[in-house]
């Protein structure tokens, strides 16, 4: 037994020994392997260091390049910003310019439209001018013809001028004669001037005398009127104390007739002419007097006076005025009874032969049937008849429609 155990131990020792040897070998291999790895690592380190150095160099170079590039970029950036600002400014300008251009464009459009119209007008004008030109050509031809005629006339005038030169010489001779005659006339003129001065002074004296006479005449007319007023007042006072109505009426009628006489002096007193009166003023004055003195309503009975501006001499005027006053007061008193309304028309005119016509027409009640002026019993109509005879005149009466009375007589020139 011990022997088997021993053998096993011996066997075990030999196995262990083998294992030890293997272990030694493994360790050696591992050491060798480690050594190899160290070597490889060392080489790799060296290689890596070399690579690092290269890389470092590259890095430095790259950095340098980068710095430069950075600088370049910065400067480029600044430039770009400046450029951008400039562009901004330029852009704004361009905006304003654009607006201006838009306006300008619109103006140009408007102008273009105007030009189109102007063009049309010019076309029309051109057409007119063409016509005018044709007309001018025609006129020109006429003028040429006229010029030719004038040339002939000119030659005639030249001939006439030559004649005139001769005539002029004759006139010079005549002028010399006239100078002599002129001197004679100047001498005569001086004499006449002296005479004219004498005449002027005489004329002034005559004028002064005439003025004096006119003043005196006016004064006389004034006095006559005052005296006629006294007569009128006497008649009025007498009428007032007269108990008989018919007598009172007669006195009032006389007062009216005196007044007609006074009016003629008034007209002479007023006018520049002291020997003739204006028929229109005179008739108007008598109409106004008669209407004022009557009880007639002038609103109901209208009077129309149509008298030409005629100058009549004082003698005719007094007679004519008396006739008219009788006729007109007859109208007022008798034509419109019982507050009747109507009108009276008075006309007076002178015809071409110098014959005067005085007419009084009313649209009143008219004349009584069978009325005859020559047989009339009233004083008024008797006076009218007598006064017409004094004027060598004629009297006509028509009482068919209202009453018309007209007198014709030859007026003195």
């Amino acid at each position: 037994m011990c022997k088997t155990k021993n053998d096993e131990l011996l066997l075990r020792i030999s196995e262990l020994d083998d294992e030890l040897k293997n272990a030694h070998l493994t360790s050696e291999y591992a050491a060798l392997q480690a050594k190899t790895i160290a070597n490889i690592t060392k080489k790799k380190e060296q290689k890596l260091e070399a690579q690092v150095r290269v890389l470092k160099t590259n890095l430095d170079r790259t950095r340098g390049i980068n710095r430069e590039q950075l600088k370049n970029v910065e400067s480029n950036y600044a430039e770009l910003i400046a450029t951008a600002e400039e562009l901004d400014v330029a852009n704004t300008d361009k905006g304003a310019r654009l607006a201006e251009l838009v306006i300008a464009n619109q103006e140009k459009d408007a102008r273009a439209a105007e030009l189109v119209i102007a063009n049309q007008e010019k076309d029309a004008r051109a057409a007119e001018l063409v016509i005018a030109k044709e007309k001018l050509v025609c006129e020109n031809e006429e003028k040429d013809a006229r010029l030719a005629a004038l040339a002939i006339a000119n030659q005639e005038k030249d001939a006439r001028a030559a004649e005139l030169v001769i005539a002029n010489q004759e006139k010079d001779a005549r002028a010399a004669e006239l100078v002599i005659a002129n001197k004679e006339l100047a001498f005569q003129n001086d004499q006449k001037e002296a005479r004219a001065i004498e005449l002027e002074s005489a004329g002034e004296k005559v004028k002064a005398t005439l003025q004096e006479k006119e003043v005196l005449l006016r004064e006389i007319h004034h006095r006559v009127k005052n005296n006629l007023q006294i007569i009128s007042s006497m008649l009025s006072l007498q009428a007032r104390v007269e108990p008989d109505a018919a007598s009172r009426k007669a006195l009032v009628e006389c007062q009216r007739r005196v007044k007609v006489m006074a009016r003629i002096h008034e007209s002479l007193h007023q006018s520049n002419n002291v020997t003739a009166v204006d028929a229109r003023d005179y008739i108007n004055a008598i109409v106004a007097d008669t209407v004022d003195s009557s009880q007639i309503n002038s609103q109901k009975v209208k009077t129309l006076v149509e008298v030409d501006k005629i100058n009549i001499d004082i003698d005719t005027a007094i007679v004519c005025g008396q006739i008219f006053s009788e006729l007109f007061s007859n109208c007022i008193k008798h034509a419109f009874p019982d507050d009747r309304s109507g009108s009276i028309k008075v006309t007076m005119r002178r015809d071409e032969r110098g014959r005067m016509e005085l007419k009084v027409v009313d649209d009143g009640i008219g004349l009584l049937e069978g009325f005859n002026i020559h047989k009339s019993a009233t004083l008024g109509m008797k006076l009218v008849g007598a006064l017409t005879t004094q004027l060598n005149g004629e009297i006509n009466i028509d009482g068919s429609c209202g009453t018309s009375v007209w007198i014709t007589f030859k007026g003195k020139k």
């Binding site: 004034h222 009127k225 005052n226 006629l228 007023q229 006294i230 007569i231 009128s232 007042s233 006497m234 009025s236 006072l237 007032r240 009032v252 007062q255 009216r256 005196v258 007044k259 006074a262 009016r263 008034e266 007193h269 007023q270 003023d281 108007n284 004055a285 106004a288 007097d289 004022d292 003195s293 009557s294 009880q295």
Partner: protein
């Protein structure tokens, strides 16, 4: 009873003045007096203060009716009617003559009717002015 309006007559012709005063009385006026000259007219009008004066223009004495009227109108403002041989009936009737306020105009020879109309016209105007 209605109080009569009082009138002064200025006229140097006695017959005319008498006629005027008779007519005025007939028309219902009281005649305060008759003055024959402008001086008398000024004195009487200031003393009696009439409602109206009938004034002739041509008067005997130093002054005429126009001068007297100026003084009377200035002092007592009494309406005046000129009764005169001067003038033109047609002009005064048609109103072309510039007659001042408070002044009337009658051309001689006058009659009752003319006097009545002008006196009434001037008195009516002056009373409407005094209202």
């Amino acid at each position: 009873m209605m109080i009569k309006k009082r009138v002064l007559i200025v006229e140097d012709q006695a017959i005319t003045a008498f006629d005027e005063s008779e007519i005025m009385r007939e028309l219902g006026y009281e005649v305060t007096g008759i003055a024959m000259s402008a001086e008398e007219a000024i004195m009487q009008s200031h003393r009696d203060l009439p409602d109206l004066i009938l004034m002739d223009i041509e008067l005997s004495g130093e002054m005429n009716g126009l001068q007297a009227t100026l003084i009377i109108r200035e002092r007592d403002n009494i309406p005046v009617i000129y009764v005169t041989a001067y003038g033109d009936k047609t002009v005064s009737v048609s109103g072309n003559l510039p007659i001042p306020d408070g002044i009337g105009y009658i051309v001689k020879p006058f009659d009752k009717e003319e006097l009545r109309r002008e006196v009434e016209r001037v008195l009516c105007l002056s009373s409407s002015e005094n209202l």
